[in-house]
Amino acid sequence: MRAKVFLIISIFISFSLSFVIEARELSIQQLEERKKADKERKKEREKRGAKEFQKEVTLTTDIIFISKERETPPVLSNLDPILEDEGFYGVKLAIEDNLTTGRFLGHDYKVEFHRILLEENLEIEFKKLLKQGKKIFVVDLNEDELLSLMKIPEIDDVLIFNVRAKNDSLRNENCRKNFFHIPPSYSILSDALTQYLVKKKWKKWFLVTGPDKNDQIYSDALKSSAKKFNVKIKEEKIWNFTADLRRTAGKEVPIFTKGSKYDVLVVADEDGEFGEYLAYRTWDPRPIVGTQGLKPNSWHRTHEQWGATQMQNRFRRESGRWMTEVDYHSWTAVRAIGETITRIQVNDVDEMRKYLLGEKFGLGAYKGVKVSFRSWNGQLRQPILLAAPRSMVSVSPQEGYIHPVSELDTLGKDQPESTCKF
């Protein structure tokens, strides 16, 4: 009798255990199952002859996505694969969203993907597209490439959505009235991080800056944030070691960080050349923030609030990988285009630009509040996710930072500080 009870109990335990394990690993497995189920349901639907609501198409919009082939940089961390399809699935999902809405309104969307190869010239290729009469571009390009586009005279007659470059210059002295910037600028990111550190009262910083140009720019943004929020930078160093840190970090980092009094080690290392190797190796036990450790992001794989779970699931089902920031920016850009056309019912460039920069524009983008564009420089207003590699820590703006227009404008350069003139 007792044996039988034990047997039942052990069966029960192993059953519930296997259930728990299954539940944990549901990600890939469940996504695959859903994919399969989707296909079967689609077949059944077709069998039943179910009709889709489709209004006659009266408006067709072409969207061009441009990315550039790049030489892969040597990276120290070989954990994350180097993606060659960043942005693609973001655009694809957003186009599907636009098409679904468009089906009910008689709006059609077409997208072309262009990848500029290493041996090709961006300006020449871009001019070809302009000649074909293309008007709406989502571009995965860096600062220099965007600046080179600005030299093309006909560029003023089209809409450009930047989905990669975070440089403040593009939103200030080099701004253009028809360039929209989806990524948060370096100063938005540094303010978002600083607000949180101030809230934690971690106001003594040790700032380490990497060797690249963008590291320097981000570092400058962090310094102005420190000034803005009354934070003291106790120590500042440039990282210029060239050795491969994978074997030597244990020796180099303690000496590099010895002798300073600080609360947090703030790192500006965009390409991850050394930042990952600072944690757990500093002389004093201190947390790492900035481009490594606790990082300000526009999107992160740990983000699940405000419907983000749906977005993460849809993206992973489509692509088989996690959504990156560039993917999210691309999705947002194409959705912003769709939302505008849905509301104003035309796809004229000037009308769209006015609506995008106007007060009526607002887009749900899984951030809890609507995102919109700053009318003075085309920067997307958005909450910033502060995340550690495996957990969401906080969302900025932090409580208590108030603003007459939008609390989101406590992040980055506000209208009075902006040097952008349209």
Binding site: Q30, E96, T100, F104, R335
Partner: protein, 322 residues
């Protein structure tokens, strides 16, 4: 042994006596549980383990069945309202979120958030009859008293889809504000109110002309505009009030159903989402997701009487009809 027997009998009588009391069922999204509340006593009397990520919850008209959307299990659980034991699963599409039963309990309409479909399930055969392609991330479901017009809202497409419940075809699509969450017909079926979480408004639509007749906005001193996020909508049967849950504004707006003017804001728990009336409509319950509690509101006095703790992230609420 005899003592043991008594305990069993005692338990039994306790359970059967509690059936006659009015019960509220709350889905706790992060706990995978349902809290059962005795409304008279304002107490949680039972916490039941259910499927993963429970959200939408409704009951059959006779009060015998509780239906729960187990979103991460991709199915609908049907439980005995008395014992809360699982009776069977109903098929649904991926990620069911909200649903509604036809007036005769024969048909279930489910919004499947992950695949832009409203799935129609036959409750007798327990089979999917049809899928209606709607906008992206469908959520809110409203139905007229006669069960002839179904309204579904889609969160990313920002539309209210009017569906003929007999032919299961879309008749018209009405643009509303960003992220529409709930569609609710007034008791006389002459209006359907659609809340927009990100847009911060409630649109009132005439179901015959499909025109937006009113846009209700909300302004609360000291609360920033961005945190006013309307979700749950409930109308009183007498046509007097409409209650709108305002999410992270932590308040419920009391709106005059006729003039569409806001009369009052009731402060409840954090991130208030869904609402439900007791059958006599004297009490309204709200689920407050972040503070993990449920508020009791006195409808006559328009006052919050009490809040009680439930599980983590309470999402949906339904109250037994008897």
């Amino acid at each position: 042994m005899i003592k043991f027997f008594y305990i069993i009998v005692a338990c039994f009588t306790f359970i059967s006596s509690s059936v006659h009391a009015n019960l509220a069922y709350i889905t706790n999204e992060k706990d995978n549980t349902v809290s059962v509340i005795d409304i008279k006593k304002k107490k949680v009397i039972k916490t039941v383990k259910v499927g993963q990520r429970p959200r939408g919850i409704i009951m059959s008209k006779d009060g015998k069945l509780v239906l729960i959307c187990a979103s991460d299990d991709d199915r609908v659980e049907v439980r005995d309202a008395e014992t809360m034991k699982l009776k069977y699963h109903l098929p649904s599409g991926p990620d069911p979120e909200l649903f509604i039963l036809s007036p005769d309990d024969s048909t279930l309409y489910i919004a499947n958030e992950d695949d832009a479909m409203v799935t129609v399930v036959d409750m007798n055969d327990k089979m999917i009859i049809d899928d209606i392609p709607v906008g992206v991330e469908p959520e809110g479901m409203g139905l007229t008293n006669n069960g002839k017009i179904l309204v579904n809202t889609s969160e990313t497409t920002n539309m209210a889809h009017f569906i003929n419940a007999e032919t299961l075809e879309i008749v018209e699509n009405v643009l509303v504000d960003a992220r529409p969450r709930v569609a609710m017909f007034t008791p006389n079926d002459k209006e359907v109110w659609v809340s927009a979480e990100i847009g911060g408004t409630v649109k009132v639509i005439n179901p015959n002309s499909k025109e937006v007749t009113h846009t209700i906005g909300f302004e609360i001193p000291g609360v920033n505009e961005e945190s006013i996020q309307p979700v749950g909508v409930r109308h009183t049967k007498d046509g007097k009030y409409t209650f709108v849950a305002l999410g992270p504004a932590n308040r419920i707006a009391v709106v005059d159903q006729k003039t569409k003017k806001v009369i009052k804001y009731l402060l409840v728990g954090q991130r208030v989402w869904q609402l439900a009336f007791t059958p006599d409509q004297k009490t309204l319950l709200s689920t407050n997701g972040v503070s993990n509690d449920v508020s009791f509101i006195n409808v006559d006095k328009l006052k919050v009487e009490k809040s009680i703790k439930v599980g983590r992230f309470p999402w949906g609420v339904v109250i037994s009809p008897q």
